[in-house]
Amino acid sequence: MQADQTNHFRRFALIWAVATAILTPIVIFVFGPGLPPGNGTVESAGQVSDNTVLLALSTPVALGVLIFVGYCVWAFREPNPDGPVLDGPPITGNSSVQMWWLIVTTTLVLFLATFGSVRLLQDGAGGGQGPNPLSTPAGKALQVQVIAQQWEFTYRYPGYGGIETPHLVIPANTLVEFHVTSLDVVHSFWAYQLGVKADANPGLDNIAYVTTKSPMTFEVHCAELCGVWHGYMFDSGRVVSKASFATWIKGAEKTYGPAVKYLPPYSKTYFPSPVGRGG
């Protein structure tokens, strides 16, 4: 009985090792480059790398589980389905397996926790960091305020007279500092291809950074269930050349000029008044 168990373990381990050796490089080099959210910005490219690391590490684990289940179904199937159902050999503990299980899983979890923390601290990884960011990328940033409301995002550019626009346009090869806030309920600003996701909370300035690369278009979605039209709270934005941005912002100042006199002075958060007919 003991010899048979050892034989099964070796066969399983061999199948797992071969499958891992074949599939892990495929995952890294074939699937990795195509992982979301793409390489449009420095942050999104970093997220592609992070996702590749996570997928590469989870591949042997997933293979281990799947091969173990498959092997058990195949190797320990009922040899004679029409015969009497017999009880199998009793299950016994194996301290060596238990120890290695603990060592491997603990090492994996600790590595991933450390890896994730380091990556977050490097540049914020495109996530909202609250009003006092822990990691601030070096360089002068273009500030853009993202204002969420049921059910639309609008954008203010404090460096350009505080004008507000209904669409997001930012220049290429530029560090952008998003200040995300809300006028009503909790929303989430998710600029998918930019690799930016930051909650929009009323009364809070949530800061996220992104460094753009080439001109591109990107989608903006709300990622927090925020009411009846949450599913429709989306828009598209553009990363344009610096020259095109200069032209666009000049046009926007003219187009949205009539509303400027009604806008409140630029602020990190807003507490709109009146609150309508609220009860």
Partner: protein, 219 residues
């Protein structure tokens, strides 16, 4: 074995059909719709906003949009508007409600209309004082947004529940916008927190399709 497999397959089929029906019904089940009128002037859509729906409505205290006609009669509680594709639609809104004010003053400016303007009681303008806004007619997917100024609180002969009449205090707002491709389905909404009695004015009719929200169906 075969019997069990058949049972599992049948159960899976039933569940799949049920899920598919749920999705189809969800996507197609929209409130009553009304077509824009075709006149010699083109495609016309006549709407009205009231402080409260008709007394026989399930929510007679809720603020609401209605569809009417050029004479502001024949009121219908329909908020899905059917319009032709790639067409200029001329919208007239008879606005009977008082002001509530906008949370975001930016929305006090009209966007997405022909010329970026609208008329308020015959006067062509681009924006209103955000504190005087009563409602907004906005189709965010088209970039269309028009603020509707509220009736003066001291005005005489104010309307309570729908239907209202032209002799009652109201504002008339007109604007035009161009529709998109055939088959498009847009949502429209109000941006003013106008739901009386709800937290920050954002509950009830603001969160229920058929009052301050609806669809624009392009055919």
């Amino acid at each position: 074995m075969v019997k069990r497999s058949l049972l599992v397959l049948t159960a899976a089929l039933v569940v799949s059909v049920a899920i598919a029906m749920y999705v189809v019904l969800y996507l197609t089940n929209v409130p009553d719709s009304a077509r824009a009128a075709q006149t010699s002037a083109g495609t016309e859509l006549y709407l009205a906003t009231v402080p409260a729906a008709a007394l026989n409505d399930p929510h007679p205290s809720w603020v609401s949009y209605y569809q009417t006609n050029s004479r502001d009669t024949n009121w219908q509680h329909k908020t899905t508007f059917i319009v032709p594709a790639n067409t200029l639609v001329h919208v007239t809104v008879f606005q009977y409600d008082g002001d509530s004010g906008l949370r975001n003053p930016f929305i006090s400016q009209a966007t997405g209309t022909v010329g970026g303007t609208f008329t308020l009681d015959g006067k062509t303008i681009q924006a209103i004082d955000p504190n005087t806004a009563s409602h907004v007619f906005a189709i965010p997917q088209l970039g269309l947004s028009v603020p509707l100024q509220g009736v003066d609180g001291n005005a005489k002969n104010q309307c309570g529940n729908a239907p209202c009449t032209m002799s009652q205090a109201h504002q008339t707002i007109t604007f035009s916008f161009r529709t998109g491709a055939k088959g498009s389905l847009y949502r429209w909404q109000c941006f003013v927190p106008c739901a009386a009695g709800y937290i920050d004015g954002f509950g009830g009719p603001m969160q229920t399709v058929g009052y301050m929200d609806g669809f624009v169906k392009v055919v």
